[in-house]
């Protein structure tokens, strides 16, 4: 039952995407619904499975690794599945207005959108290194296609740059996989550990894979491609890129680090990863502070926020795991909300330059409100999911008397506040001239509703943390279990 449900979760969107290419255009609206709407219901079956039995291993088509496809459903991958399904559905609500099925670009957008969705689901489930490589490539290529889908020059340039760096990242990753396969003959993420000693060759292999993944998740100083790509992509695409696509690579690093290499001594490397995270937070925030375009500010904010996910490596405890996972969830919702709100503003004003946004709060109150609400979570101020994540990080740091990390986490919210309030202050400023309001199409209201829903989700996450935290606590890597 669970196997079938998981297979459907991955293959329904893929098949529908293929159908969109083949079937006549009039079917598009229907196909979108078929490809997306059943997913939350299908996901209930694996959820029951995890609640009852914990982890669940799926061997597709009867071939065990290294030949076949092996998936592992455990609490953490379930959390990622829910996050992906939830955010993708809400962002799709927005996309159904920015790419209405009747328009020409929709023919290109929706198949790629569903491929991206399906391949992320497959990626978080994948249990062997080669499988991860394939799905990661699919995710990247679909993402690049989506960035370029409107054919705007800036977006095309950004997509090209992303493509080159992502290909390099894939090669590094593949090289690492090759080295490990040559050593052990095993590719299973959770079995390699038994065959592998921390010799220099295997450490090199692991390092290559991790560097490749760091590029894909745009961790400082390998972030250079992200701001342009996320800042120039169409609204819903930016939202999913920042909320999910970069996160799934971090998720794979977590898997490699804490599961595959779980019992190796990686302390100094962990500190290095933490320092990268700290630098990312500071650099991303400062860079966001000097941007002149709203979407670029939000994109740099992603660079900064990804840094928190790296703090898991040096802190490495149950609390830190809960903190990082909770940050992943609440940042996903908040950042998606911000990009959607920014997309609505951009569409209505025709530009997202800050100088053009004075007084916009009177014209687009809902979107500014969504931006502000999501901002509360990004700044880590209560009550919000971002605050709880920050609180858990602080507790984790205090537990280990890691005062440096504690101060960093506590104070870095101020940096986020600095760049976000800069935006909000501009929006509250009284415009010197009246805005040319009716020249452009107004974003339809449901597009704003999608942004509001996600933003409210990030706030509500500040109150209803128990299900997520319990799930994470049940799915800790073997070395961390309390």
């Amino acid at each position: 039952m669970t196997t079938e449900a998981l297979a459907l979760i991955v293959f329904v969107p893929l098949l529908v995407a293929a159908g969109m290419v083949v079937l006549p255009r009039s079917w598009l609206g229907l196909l979108i619904r078929i490809g997306l709407l059943p997913l939350p219901f299908l996901l209930l079956i694996p959820t029951m499975e995890v609640v009852d039995n914990g982890a669940y291993r799926v061997v597709l088509a009867g071939h065990d690794s290294p030949l076949g496809i092996v998936w592992l459903l455990d609490p953490l991958s379930l959390l990622m599945l829910w996050l992906n399904v939830g955010i993708t559905l809400l962002v799709s609500l927005h996309a159904s207005f920015s790419f209405p099925p009747s328009d020409q670009p929709a023919r290109r957008f929706w198949p790629l959108w569903l491929i991206l969705f399906a391949s992320m689901n497959a990626l978080v489930l994948s249990a062997d290194l080669f499988n991860i490589y394939v799905t990661l490539e699919l995710v990247t290529l679909a993402a690049i296609g989506l960035i370029a889908v409107e054919g705007k020059p800036a977006a095309l340039r950004a997509a090209m740059r992303y493509l080159l760096l992502a290909l390099m990242a894939s090669l590094l990753y593949l090289l690492g996989v090759g080295l490990i396969y040559g050593q052990t003959g095993v590719l299973d993420l959770y079995l390699i550990a038994e065959h592998l000693e921390p010799a220099w060759l295997t450490i090199t292999a692991l390092a290559l894979m991790i560097v490749g993944l760091l590029i894909k998740s745009a961790i400082f100083p390998l972030h250079a491609w992200l701001p342009a790509a996320h800042g120039n992509a169409p609204g819903p695409v930016s939202a999913i890129l920042s909320a999910m696509v970069v996160k799934v690579s971090v998720y794979i690093i977590w898997r490699l680090w804490f599961w595959t290499a779980g019992d190796w001594d990686l302390d100094s490397a962990a500190t290095l990863m933490g320092i990268l995270g700290g630098l990312a937070i500071v650099y991303g925030s400062v860079a966001a502070l000097v941007q002149q375009r709203l979407k670029m500010i939000i994109a740099y904010s992603t660079v900064a926020q990804l840094g928190y996910l790296m703090l898991l490596f040096p802190l490495a405890s149950t609390l830190a795991f809960q903190a990082a996972s909770y940050h992943l969830v609440s940042h996903g919702m908040a950042k998606a909300a911000m990009f959607l709100a920014a997309a609505n503003i951009l569409r209505s004003v025709g530009s997202d330059r800050l100088s053009r946004l004075a007084g916009i709060d009177q014209r687009l109150p809902l979107d500014v409100f969504a931006l502000a609400l999501a901002g509360v979570s990004i700044m880590g101020l209560p009550p919000s999911g971002g605050f709880l994540a920050k609180w858990l990080f602080l507790e984790a740091a205090r537990e280990q008397e890691a005062w440096g990390w504690l101060v960093l986490v506590a104070a870095s919210g101020l940096l986020a506040a600095a760049y976000l309030f800069r935006v909000l202050a501009v929006m509250c400023l009284h415009p010197r001239r009246r805005l040319r309001s009716d020249r452009r199409r107004r974003a339809p209201n449901l597009a704003s509703v999608a942004a509001i829903l996600l933003a409210v989700g990030a706030i509500v996450a500040g109150f209803a943390s128990a299900p997520v935290l319990d799930l994470v606590a049940a799915g800790l890597p073997p070395g961390l279990a309390p």
Binding site: P365, L394, R398, L406, H430
Partner: protein, 498 residues
């Protein structure tokens, strides 16, 4: 049934205002009538609910709402005597300020945004007053920062935005120190509810230095909002906000949240004995005493009426801190009762400053010549507030100063009396010349910027000021009544010093 009531009423008190704010946002700018009705309804409802909770507490119950945020970490809203004192003050002054604000902002743009955040701000203040532990307090304390910012920058001018930035810089940085102190404290003690007399004494031996540092962190975090020198700079700048906001910032919400937090910190987290034992009472006392004098001297130097009032607030709020830092029951009563008294008196002054500014265009003190003849009622209210601030009986301010002075003598800190006397002299020297201008100087031929407004608007504006003035006189005259703030504060302090 009773259990349900006791569980939900504290939450409802917070939620009513939050919901009002959200409905006002959704209703939008044009539905002025709906907005006014909602505002007044919610404000009245809030007073009634506070009365209900007060009755429950008097009957010996403890209304308490509790949910778990993270396993082991609770959000607690609980009504005890101290929280009721603050909640009552907020609810009553909010009702008055709502009436005033509706009239004051008539015809100005962006009223939906203003009143929406105005209501959210009440919600945050209610949360602060009912917070049953330090974490809950922190959550609402930060929420208050967020919800007041849009009010500070309301006019949307470049100056307003700049002041908003200063405001955030101070309050958010204070919040970070607060957060570090909080997480550190919880590391030593685990999550603990507020308990009269404090709970930390048992940890004194093992963690003395940590407890001292944590105290400083928390006190600075709260001192920012309480505008203790040198953390006060945001307050005079925030004067660019519309008058009702200033009234609210100064009398009820922001500075009071800081002062109230310090009361909680000293009395309910550390306990007065431990604070003295850690040697933290003297630095706090010195900071408060210095701020009192500094604020008064600065007030004396201002020519802008609202700025003068702002520095007067800096000075007056420190009376509260002074009271709890002096220690001993009498001074603590003086500090806690001043929480109410200062609120009542300061709100009158800001209401009047707003009336003079809005209707006559008066911004500077020298423009006040002869206002008493043009606006006798508003000027009378202003006089009550100013005399109260100086500490003239029978206005409320006298009662506070009396208790502070007597309390200081009782614990052998006579020099504090000298501070109080000096401050009184300074208060008199910055308020009496203003009163002289108002009543004795001849009016000018033309007011700076006189505007014609409807009768009902003037009535609402002056009426609110008069209600506040009557309250300030009332609590001073009836200080001996069993339900007066003084009796209330005495009851609260009895728990701290059994």
């Amino acid at each position: 049934m009773m259990d349900l009531l006791l569980f939900w009423t504290p939450l409802l008190l917070v939620v009513v205002s939050a919901l009002t704010g959200i409905v006002i946002f959704i209703a939008g700018e044009r539905k002025a009538r709906l907005r006014i009705i909602l505002n007044l309804l919610a404000a009245v409802l809030k007073v009634l609910m506070v009365v209900l909770i007060g009755l429950l507490v008097l009957a010996g119950h403890t209304p308490e709402f509790r949910i778990s945020l993270v396993p082991g970490l609770d959000l607690v809203l609980r009504a005890d005597a101290l929280s009721l004192l603050f909640a009552t003050l907020s609810a009553v002054l909010w009702l008055v300020t709502t009436v005033y604000a509706i009239a004051y902002l008539e015809r100005s743009p962006n009223r939906a945004r203003f009143f929406g955040f105005f209501s959210l701000c009440v919600a945050a203040t209610m949360g602060i007053s009912l917070a049953g532990n330090l974490l809950t307090f922190f959550i609402f304390y930060e929420l208050l920062t967020l919800t007041t910012w849009p009010l500070v920058v309301h006019t949307g001018t470049a100056t307003a935005i700049r002041s908003g930035r200063t405001y955030l810089r101070y309050t958010l940085s204070g919040g970070v120190l607060f957060l570090i102190g909080l997480i550190w404290l919880y590391g030593i003690t685990g999550p603990q509810d507020f308990i009269a007399g404090g709970t930390l004494a048992e940890h004194d031996l093992d963690h003395r230095l940590s407890l001292q540092i944590i105290f400083v962190l928390l006190a600075v975090g709260m001192g920012v909002k309480a505008a203790i020198y040198p953390l006060h700079r945001w307050l005079p700048e925030a004067m660019v906000a519309p008058a009702p906001v200033s009234a609210l910032l100064h009398a009820v919400a922001v500075v009071k949240a800081g002062a109230f937090g310090l009361v909680r910190l000293v009395e309910d987290v550390y306990g007065p004995e431990l604070v003295a034992g850690l040697g933290m009472d003297l630095p706090l006392l010195l900071a408060a005493a210095f701020t009192i004098l500094y604020g008064s001297v600065q007030a004396l130097r201002q020519v802008d009426l609202k700025k003068r009032l702002a520095f007067s607030t800096v000075s007056q709020v420190s009376y509260i801190v002074l009271g709890i830092a002096v220690g001993g029951p009498l001074a603590t009563i003086g500090g806690i009762v001043h929480l109410v008294h200062q609120g009542l008196m300061k709100i009158i002054l800001f209401f009047c400053a707003g009336i003079f500014g809005n209707l006559l265009g008066i911004k500077y003190i020298h423009q006040l010549d002869g206002v008493g003849r043009r606006m006798p009622w508003a000027s009378a209210c202003f006089t009550v507030g100013a005399l109260g601030m100086i500490g003239l009986p029978p206005v409320a301010g006298f009662v506070s100063k009396w208790y502070l002075g007597a309390g200081a003598v009782a614990v052998g800190r006579e020099w504090v009396v000298a501070v109080l006397v000096t401050s009184t002299v300074l208060n008199a020297s910055y308020f009496l010349p203003v009163l002289k201008r108002i009543w004795l100087n001849p009016p000018p031929d033309q007011w700076p910027d006189e505007v014609q407004v409807s009768r009902i608007e003037i009535q609402a504006l002056v009426g609110s000021a008069m209600v506040a003035a009557l309250l300030a006189l009332g609590v001073g005259l009836l200080a001996g009544h069993p339900l007066s703030p003084l009796s209330w504060a005495t009851a609260i302090v009895t728990e701290y010093f059994p």
